[in-house]
């Protein structure tokens, strides 16, 4: 979908040489630390910015020359969610319908019932809990029957139960063949995407399924129960700065390898280790390892 795409602002690269492809009907996640370039990349794809270099297509349309066609076929839900707080849900949707030239009133009802917004249609947006507000914003992005939706941090500030609902909706949109491009920095949510691209310091540093990213990280997690736990933690942290406490248990992300168990036990010599087990890393561990690795390779 994009090839060598770059964008700089005042000489500072926000997106550098990004090449990736998203399949139809896929839920594709863009992840990365703040300032990695996620939002800039999205805005390039939606035709809100012009690229400084490189090229890209969205739904087969050129992101530079066919911007207006892209905007007509893509729904965009921005981080601030883009709704008018002092209008009702229905009024907001009607506004978006007008902007996109959607004439049928039935489409509004259809979208509202799809996203289960019927009960709050006449509620003013600011009065709604964040989860419902985000759902209304998603409805607004869907009014014009886009073939693709771009969701910028759709669950930001949303509580755990509402987050679940949001992801189920994203899944149901994809099931109807609408491609969803989603940014997030909540890692357990990234796991719900079909595939992911990991951005750091404006570059794409890894891409693939969540399992691929975990695999690429080459990590394994040692789970250590030892007594006294504070001493075990202090020693492990001194040797491996990413060691983390889980209750009184210490998790140590380590590169996969034969000698690891011996080394962990060596560091803990003299303490009572009553359990040492291994588990695969989570997506967040993988994320941090990959970003750190990219940073230590610098700009080379």
């Amino acid at each position: 979908m994009t090839s060598g795409l770059s964008k700089s602002f005042a000489g500072r690269a926000a997106v550098s040489d990004v090449t990736f492809e998203v399949n139809d009907g896929e839920v594709y996640g863009l992840i990365g630390p703040n300032g990695a370039g996620k939002t800039t990349l999205i805005r390039l794809l939606c035709g809100l910015y012009r690229p400084s270099a490189g090229a890209g297509t969205v739904l087969g349309l050129d992101i530079e020359r066919e911007r207006s066609l892209i905007r007509a076929r893509v729904g965009y839900m921005s981080q601030g969610n883009g709704l008018y707080g002092d209008l009702t849900v229905a009024e907001n949707l009607r506004f978006y319908a007008d902007v996109y030239g959607v004439r049928e009133e039935s489409r509004l009802r259809e979208v509202m019932s799809w996203l289960d917004l019927g009960d709050v249609a006449h509620h003013v947006v600011v009065d709604l809990p964040t989860g419902l507000r985000q759902r209304a914003a998603l409805a607004a992005a869907l009014v014009h029957r886009p073939q693709m939706v771009v969701l910028d941090e759709p669950t930001s500030g949303v509580d755990p139960l509402a987050r679940d609902t949001m992801w189920e909706l994203v899944r149901s949109i994809a099931a109807q063949g609408v491609t969803a491009l989603v940014t997030t920095h909540v890692m357990p949510e990234a796991q719900r995407c079909d595939r992911l691209a990991l951005l750091a310091e404006s570059r794409l540093i890894a891409a693939g399924t969540p399992e691929d990213l975990v695999e690429t990280s080459g990590l394994t997690i040692a789970r250590v129960d030892a007594t006294p736990w504070a001493e075990a933690f202090a020693r492990l942290r001194a040797r491996w700065p990413d060691a983390a406490l889980y209750g009184t248990r210490v998790h140590v992300p380590l590169p996969q390898g034969e000698a690891q168990e011996r080394e962990v036990r060596g560091v803990l010599a003299g303490l009572e280790v009553y359990s040492l087990s291994w588990q695969p890393p989570g997506i967040e561990d993988a994320f941090i390892a990959l970003v750190d690795r990219a940073a230590s390779h610098g700009t080379a």
Binding site: G32, P33, N34, G35, P129, T130, G131, S156, G157, D159, P160, L161, A162, H185, V186, M187, P188, A230, F233, A234, D242, A244, L245, Y246, G247, T248, G282, E284, F287, I288, V291
Partner: protein
């Protein structure tokens, strides 16, 4: 000894109950995590513990009487955006009644601890979200409280900043601070010794992570299971 405790804690706002009889016991030095959806009562619980709200019924400790020994790190940005990092720390130090020499010493020590030394002269409003959270933490522990209350400290913060923030929590925990953390992230409370599931003003269940996830389920699954147990 339980240094944070609630018994039958009830608190309503304009007849809308926020807490409906909460029992909680956090022994000295424990890291305890409270997890729940919006409106579960997490913030109200922390504010009662901090003595900022007076309960309608039940008891709470430390509460109003023990406020001097509590550090409260509120949700969101509560610093002065138009003051520098140094000036903010100094302001809070003065508010806690620390003398000038102590203020300066703790400021240096804690800014170093939080990795903010290089940013002392920057306006707080110009810091990244992650740095603002760390500065808020610094300001809440200037008086060396033995109890620290953290209200959703990493909401909206990216994974790298979250890792840095957790390193600070771990250091305070290892140093013996009793910590009560409210969060809406299950992977975050998983790092606590003791987890409390709060829903609509009630404790659904609580215990160690291993206890709550007995059947190999994730903490989130365990939360859902206790939700269906109360029939909501």
């Amino acid at each position: 000894m339980d240094v944070v405790a609630a018994r039958g804690l009830v608190k309503s706002f304009a007849l809308q109950p926020a807490l409906r009889g909460v029992n909680l016991a956090v022994p000295s030095g424990e890291l305890c995590g409270v997890v729940g959806a919006d409106g579960a009562g997490k913030t109200t619980l922390l504010r009662c513990v901090a003595g900022l709200y007076r309960p309608d019924a039940g008891t709470v400790a430390p509460g109003r009487a023990g406020r001097a020994d509590v550090g409260f790190c509120p949700q969101g940005f509560h610093l002065y955006p138009d003051l520098t990092v140094d000036e903010n720390v100094d302001f809070f130090g003065a508010a806690y009644g620390l003398d000038v020499a102590t203020r300066a010493a703790r400021r240096d020590e804690l800014l170093d601890f939080a990795g903010l030394v290089g940013h002392r002269a920057r306006l707080a409003g110009h810091l990244s979200g992650g740095m603002q959270q760390k500065l808020t933490l610094v300001c809440s522990v200037l008086h060396r409280p033995s109890i620290l209350l953290l209200d959703e400290p990493t909401t909206g913060v990216d994974p790298l900043s979250r890792r840095q923030f957790w390193r600070l929590i771990e250091e305070l925990h290892v140093a013996g601070t009793t910590i009560l953390l409210a969060s809406s992230y299950f992977d975050e409370v998983e790092r606590c010794e003791h987890v409390v599931f709060l829903h609509e003003g009630r404790v659904l269940s609580d215990g160690g992570v291993d206890e709550l996830t007995e059947r190999g389920a994730s903490l989130e699954d365990a939360f859902r299971a206790s939700l269906s147990g109360v029939g909501t």
